[in-house]
Symmetry: C2
Subunit: 215 residues, 2 copies
């Protein structure tokens, strides 16, 4: 069975987060995996701007045509799995207890995807350094963030959240997602992404406590 055979509609709607994550965590010994590995190596060796798709395909022992069958452009090879990551977060938000407030549902979702990062720490660190090096790649990452905010906003509304509250919670969730990731990347102790999510949510709560009246 190929990736194309997967019924994505059922994948998206079912809260089978474990299944999604096990698909994601597995380093595919196929074209996609080889192209990702080649791109990471070449971007690190020569820089993102200086590398061509032809060079990536050649390093992977594949054709340019094969590259473009899997990735729309030179940037996308670094964002493989982002749809599944988004689907996993959305599934966890939908599966959270109805009594959970919006931000709690999102925090649960973010803790559930921790294995995606924790199991590929070396890969994530290399990828992170490359994305930071290029304005084009940062733009693409921000667009992925926007897509995730929209998907989580919709999921929260399906749980009955007011649209304005859903949007604010999803944006705040994206902030937690992003800053917890930055902390996780920089953590010399290598603690789990889930711990950084919990700490970042706690910091957000502390930050927004209504100020005491000042005399």
């Amino acid at each position: 069975m190929s990736v194309a055979d997967i019924d994505h509609s059922s994948l998206m709607s079912a809260p089978d987060i474990g299944g999604i994550l096990s698909c994601m965590a597995r380093w595919e010994p196929d074209a996609v995996g080889r192209l990702q590995q080649a791109a990471l190596e070449l971007y690190a060796e020569h820089g993102y701007e200086q590398t061509t798709v032809a060079e990536i395909a050649a390093r992977a022992g594949l054709s340019e045509r094969t590259y473009f069958r899997h990735f729309a452009d030179k940037r996308e090879v670094l964002f493989h799995g982002s749809e599944q990551l988004q689907a996993a977060i959305v599934a966890a938000v939908e599966a959270a207890p109805a009594s959970d407030a919006p931000l709690d549902a999102i925090a649960t979702g973010l803790r559930r995807i921790a294995p995606f990062f924790d199991e590929r720490r070396a890969h994530s660190l290399r990828r992170h350094a490359i994305v930071r090096s290029s304005r084009e790649l940062q733009e693409r990452e921000l667009m992925k963030r926007g897509a995730m905010v929209a998907a989580v906003t919709a999921a929260l509304q399906r749980r009955g959240a007011d649209p304005a509250v859903a949007a604010l919670a999803a944006e705040s969730g994206a902030t937690v997602f992003h800053l917890a990731y930055e902390r996780w990347v920089a953590d010399p102790a290598g603690r789990s992404y889930a711990e950084h999510v919990a700490e970042t949510v706690a910091s957000l709560r502390a930050l927004t406590v209504a100020p005491a009246a000042v005399g």
Copy 2:
């Protein structure tokens, strides 16, 4: 005196927000203003993708060379004033009482820039619709947001905030900036941007209140 004669270093450091805003609110009867007007008209009439810089310059009665003296590319004409807006927010954050918590300092800054939006409501609504129509323009807007987050993070650290707290507050401030703007654009009553900032900050505080223990 031309714009080039302004000493930007003193502009940035002095908390003269009123002065910055009065410069921004004035619709310049010069090349920049004519190019902005022409771009807004053409993007609305024919779409952003279909419009060329040559057409914008011609509509404004100016040369392409003049366009590129003021704007680096086809997108930037829609982002004129973003540096000054950022400088005004940073100045207000720096000028906020030392007793203000980071998020309060940012909320003060955002309320202070309200005239920039309120005095150009029709312009802002047209511009907003055009930015929403193009992925390229959304990418540029997200990069501007990133620059503002970095500048506000630095300003909060100069006030003595812990780096991690400063980053989280600045990201949350960007969320408030963005969602208050969305609410302001959509508000049929046309209330001030400052009111939408205050409401969005209140919603954020409500959202992040620690959940009650559930039995």
